[in-house]
């Protein structure tokens, strides 16, 4: 299988001098293949979120390279990087981060609008994905009229509707109770298997990490060990 994500000696340091220097990600090299359901695990401050941001092109590495499907996104910037994220990466955030003035349907539709998908196709895909995440009939509700679990389902639908190759989820279940968290992970796993999308999510919840097919343990910005089930 080909590596859809490949980082080589990637570093992300914060601070200007020796005393204040923080090595958030320190010389990390990983390869993740298409369709993997990978969890980045480790305690707070271990570098999980920073590594996800580097893989997602939200942050630039201090050194090293980040390649997604063979493209070195560390060398990209501005509009090109925005377009790359739009077409290749879906994001799910811990705090859902839905647009509050949009309904669930509009939140999902927005990214397709950026891609230039025509209106009829947008509507069709929104209905389809809402059904897949179990939110049929709730499409016209704004985020403040949805529960936390429902909002995160909308976030999953928004991340997937553009049909990206990679979904990056930063602590997607952290704001949910354990029952809803597990249900959400099961949904993500199901979508991962049915759509063959590559999922990487960060977590420090042991119940959640059991669902992953691969665990990358991080500590102090380095990979402690990489465990494939």
């Amino acid at each position: 299988m080909s590596a859809v994500i490949s980082t080589t000696d990637v570093c992300r340091f914060f601070g200007d001098d020796e005393e204040t220097l923080v090595k958030a990600v320190d010389n990390v090299s990983i390869e993740i293949e298409r369709g993997e359901f990978t969890a980045l695990v480790g305690p707070s401050g271990s570098g999980k979120t920073t590594l996800l941001h580097l893989i997602g092109g939200l942050d630039n590495p201090t050194s090293g390279s980040v390649k997604l499907s063979g493209t070195n996104i560390a060398a990209m910037s501005g509009t090109a990087l925005s377009d790359f994220r739009r077409d290749h990466i879906g994001f799910i955030f811990q705090a859902y981060n839905l647009i509050p003035v949009f309904s669930a349907e509009e939140n999902i539709e927005y990214i397709m609008l950026l891609q230039g998908v025509d209106a009829v196709e947008r509507k069709r895909r929104v209905s389809e994905i809402l059904a897949q995440v179990g939110l049929e009939g709730l499409g016209d509700r704004r985020p403040n009229k949805l529960s936390g679990g429902q909002q995160q389902r909308v976030a999953i639908a928004r991340a997937m509707v553009s049909r990206p190759e990679i979904i990056l989820a930063d602590e997607p279940t952290a704001n949910l109770d354990s029952k809803n968290g597990i249900a959400l992970l099961d949904l993500m796993k199901e979508l991962n298997e049915s759509h063959n999308m590559t999922f990487i999510f960060s977590t420090h919840d042991e119940k959640i990490m059991k669902r992953a097919s691969r665990l990358i343990h991080m500590q102090d910005g380095k990979i402690e060990f990489d465990e494939k089930k």
């Binding site: 939200l58 509009t79 925005s82 981060n97 647009i99 991340a159």
Partner: protein, 406 residues
């Protein structure tokens, strides 16, 4: 469309703040419209005044008569020009005039006078001369039983010479052929009062003046009244092509000093209004920046999911422009009745105001597309301008940094 929807809904997120911002924009717009209406109205009234008083929309002269008037710079065969002008559908009417400086005498006194020979019938339909007669009646071009023509004289001359209706007036001048011109006329009417611009003028029938000044059928000036005030320059160009040997000037050239001071004053008014609008917009800019700062995290998310930086900046510009547009629409609803009242009723000034050299004692506004459109573009232009810094801030913020903020 979704971007418009997003921008529109964002306006209503902080309703009270948006309402206060809209109120200041609406107030600024109404103030601007009123000021533009007053400025345009004052100048329109002044322009109408001198166009109908004597200037007309267009004047025709021989060579540089307009700048250096000499008695011999006269138009030959004015009847040919009249035929052309009478045939034009754009022209309401026209009149023919000759001018000469002279000395006026009564039995006991004398006074300098400006003699103007006028085509009585045409002058009546072209200018307001007939309405300015304060004593007597509009004269005719007939010679009376004793062989004298009638004259209409300014109130200043009547006062200086101590003469009235029916009295004899003696005029002495120089004829076009170099001869000494002198003749006696009977006062048939007094024009205006002692403050009028015509106070030192003697109006004679055209034929009488031509005879007095030995000018045969020639005239010095053709003054034209158009049906449409706005076509002076265009019609002047058309007439110039038809009359290449003569100088055809629109009122803007004839009254160049007034026109230039009016344009300067109008530009000053636009700059002054621009400063007022800018001050209003300093407050609006604060609101826009605040609104962007509050949504830093949201902008980070929008960038993360693939919104281009330029599109984010566009969204912020759209929001500000939409708020300004709503405010201007509201302002329009308030400004239309105000301008209608100001245009058709207006108000009297406690002291007369000088408008380009003409004293106005009653001010009325102008109802035109310009008085509503110019402030509209001024406000929308500023709205776009002040949204640029906020847009740039949102566009160039790193998504990671933005998403860390609360």
């Amino acid at each position: 469309m979704l971007l418009f929807k997003l921008a529109f809904r964002n306006i209503f997120r902080q309703r009270r703040r948006s309402l206060l911002t809209a109120m200041s924009l609406t107030g600024g717009y109404v103030l601007c419209v009123f000021s533009f209406s007053m400025s345009e109205g004052s100048y329109s009234n002044a322009i109408s005044f001198f166009i109908q008083d004597h200037t007309g929309h267009i004047q025709i002269h021989k060579d540089d008569y307009l700048r250096k008037p000499k008695i011999h710079k006269s138009i030959e065969a004015p009847e040919d020009i009249s035929a052309i002008l009478d045939a034009s559908e754009q022209i309401e009417s026209h009149t023919l005039r000759i001018f000469a400086p002279s000395l006026a005498y009564s039995e006991t006194d004398n006074s300098p006078a400006q003699v103007i020979g006028i085509d009585l019938d045409r002058e009546r339909t072209t200018t307001t001369l007939a309405a300015k007669i304060s004593e007597g009646s509009y004269i005719n071009s007939e010679i009376d039983g004793e062989g004298y023509y009638s004259a209409m004289i300014g109130a200043g001359i009547a006062n200086n010479l101590n003469i009235g209706l029916g009295d004899e007036l003696i005029l002495i001048s120089q004829g076009a052929d170099g001869s000494i011109a002198n003749d006696i006329y009977i006062v048939g009417a007094i024009v205006g009062d002692r403050r009028s611009s015509d106070r030192s003028t003697v109006f004679l029938p055209l034929a009488a003046a031509q005879e007095f000044l030995s000018m045969n059928d020639e005239v010095h000036e053709v003054s034209i009244l158009l049906k449409d005030d706005g076509r002076a320059r265009a019609e002047a160009e058309i007439l110039q092509d038809l009359l290449p040997d003569l100088a055809v000037d629109p009122w803007q050239e004839v009254e160049a000093t007034f026109y230039q001071s009016m344009q300067t004053d109008k530009q000053g008014n636009v700059i002054f209004m621009g400063i007022i609008v800018f001050i209003v917009f300093v407050g609006v800019m604060n609101t826009v920046l605040m609104s962007v700062l509050e949504r830093t995290r949201e902008f980070g998310v929008l960038k993360a999911i693939g919104t281009r930086p330029a599109k984010l900046a566009l969204m912020i510009t759209l929001e500000t422009t939409m708020l300004a547009s709503i405010s201007v629409l509201l302002g329009l609803v308030l400004a239309i009745p105000l301008v209608l009242w100001f245009t058709y009723a207006g108000f009297a000034l406690p002291e007369p105001m000088d408008v380009g050299g003409i004293l106005m004692s009653h001010i009325t506004g102008e109802l035109s597309l310009y008085v509503f459109a110019a402030p509209l573009f001024l406000i929308l232009g500023f709205a776009i301008l002040i949204s640029i810094p906020a847009g740039i801030r949102a566009a160039f913020n790193s998504p990671t940094e933005a998403m860390r903020s609360n």
